[in-house]
Symmetry: C2
Subunit: 325 residues, 2 copies
């Protein structure tokens, strides 16, 4: 079974693009004619909500699956739409896999012992059900995890990752302004809390290093903190780094790739800037067919073309920043 880190880096190389598309759906992001189509059906409102979200996700994937190696659905946005929303999440993951994209489940799970095993089984593993068959529930390729509970909370994810060729990204330095409330507290030995977390990540991942030299145990380090990214890369030479905070949250291309080594070792997330690219394009009718052909050979709708254009701009921005390193 192929190591997750090798698999992700292979897809990044094939696309020549270290981008992951965050799929964090809100009804506000979707062009209103598409919403209206579903409003005017006899389908129940909760089901219609989930269907339009899945339809939008599917069309975004159709616009970029040759360009972008991975998606990162944020579980909160599906959970907020209830059981039907979670069904849309499951269908989105399945669809991305059909298109050969890697799926990073952004769930930030954390618990201990058998509970952590339950989460790991739910998201990257399998659960035995009543007829003794084992079922994969969400079937993601990797999952984000919060390490505040220590190794007891990580080990069950490591075990499933090892058995199934999956991965995890542990929060080290998050992209938000108040990340430092806890993460920047200074320890008596001079380290900061997030540096201590980074040391744990490097140690916890030592058994899952692939042929690429990177481990399937990665870290989350926000693009909004390039200095910290350089610092944690020294502590975690083997960790793949998942980098949120590019674009909307203020991180530049140069900031986003600060932790890369020889042009690799990380993947940069963009959510709103890709999902809502059409909102910045007055030249485009989001629901009208354009002349641009997508990867499946069909003409793209306006909002799809806007997302594809933004994906190309972002790819070129990141690659230019990598060349300058």
């Amino acid at each position: 079974m192929m190591n997750f880190a090798d698999r992700l880096l292979g897809r990044i190389e094939a696309c020549n693009n270290p981008t992951v598309m965050g799929l964090d759906p809100k009804l506000d992001y979707i062009p209103s004619p598409m919403i209206d189509n579903w409003k005017n059906t006899s389908v129940a409102a909760d089901t219609a909500t989930a269907e339009v979200i899945f339809e939008y996700n599917r069309l975004l994937i159709d616009a970029v699956y040759d360009l972008i190696p991975a998606i990162k659905p944020q579980f909160a946005y599906y959970e907020m739409y209830g059981l039907e929303g979670l069904k849309a999440l499951k269908k989105t993951i399945e669809y991305a896999h059909e298109k050969n994209m890697i799926v990073i489940a952004d769930a930030k799970r954390n618990d201990i012992g058998t509970t952590a095993t339950a989460y790991a089984n739910a998201i990257i593993g399998e659960t035995k059900i009543i007829n003794d068959s084992s079922e994969a529930m969400f079937e993601a390729d990797c999952v984000t995890v919060n390490g505040y509970l220590g190794i007891d909370g990580i080990k069950p994810f490591l075990d499933v990752a090892k058995e199934k060729g999956k991965g995890l990204f542990i929060l080290v330095r998050t992209s938000n302004p108040s990340a430092g409330d806890l993460q920047d507290l200074k320890l008596e030995d001079g380290r900061l809390v997030f540096e201590a977390m980074a040391e744990h990540v490097e140690n916890w991942g030592s058994e899952l290093i692939g042929e690429s030299g990177f481990s399937s145990v990665g870290a989350v380090v926000g693009a909004t903190w390039p200095e910290q990214a350089v610092q944690v890369r020294k502590i975690m030479p083997h960790a793949l780094i998942l980098i949120p905070g590019y674009g909307a949250q203020g991180g530049s291309g140069k900031d986003a790739v600060a932790s890369f080594v020889n042009g690799k070792g990380g993947i940069v997330n963009a959510s709103r800037s890709l999902m809502c690219a059409w909102k910045k394009r007055e030249d485009i009718d989001p629901m009208a067919l354009t002349d641009e052909i997508g990867p499946n050979g069909e003409k793209l709708l306006g909002f799809q073309k806007a997302t594809r254009d933004e994906a190309i701009r972002m790819r070129d921005d990141l690659n230019a920043a990598l060349k300058e390193q």
Copy 2:
């Protein structure tokens, strides 16, 4: 709208019992004849799995709802059974509410900004769907939260809690052996990381203090760490404390109530010891009717009686420990 802390303390007082029943279902916990009933139907295996889990939860609630003020479903155990499992979670929460129990959603969510708002809306709030109606998805009374991301990750939960009369419990010192990997690191100012987290909890909760003198922003502090519990109570005089780790994980009654003040201020969780009480009772056939009458006036099955007996033993153990304080 009544403050959550006041509401929970009111129910604890009415039951004279600071216990919360953890509902962390696994098929292994359920007597095999009940499993077999569902195996031998034409219902799909994933649905049958969820149905038997809900049936077991419902019968456990029926056995103790006059004795125990609250349930704490651990989301991982439902997520592991997929979409049908999450449906069983939703039904369990609804059923507990019918029986006047308070529901603590043990989800340990953590994220920032609009994503944290999405989680808060999903679990303790409401989401606007396609027909512009607002729907409550899981409708719990409060939720566990991980504060590693700082106030950006807490504020959205605080806002929903304030608006809806709900609460949150923030992880401070977890019950597991490796809790100290991060939580016990010593800061240069002499505090430990979990003490710094406790200070945040006290500050973040200052606006949600009820007539009881306790805040709807509480903390999770494991029963396995009574010395730390005494220490954090000094730092957080207003926090309600949710205490896991009693029984199966090794915490005694005395350990569990170490953070109580004048006999109150905390709620002690027990999961396996209540859910699987029948496994320790060779004198009981788990599926046979007993002569004991439950709170709804019907005879209890063997496993229900075992859980009720254990609930009474635990209540008396905690109250005896409180008397000795």
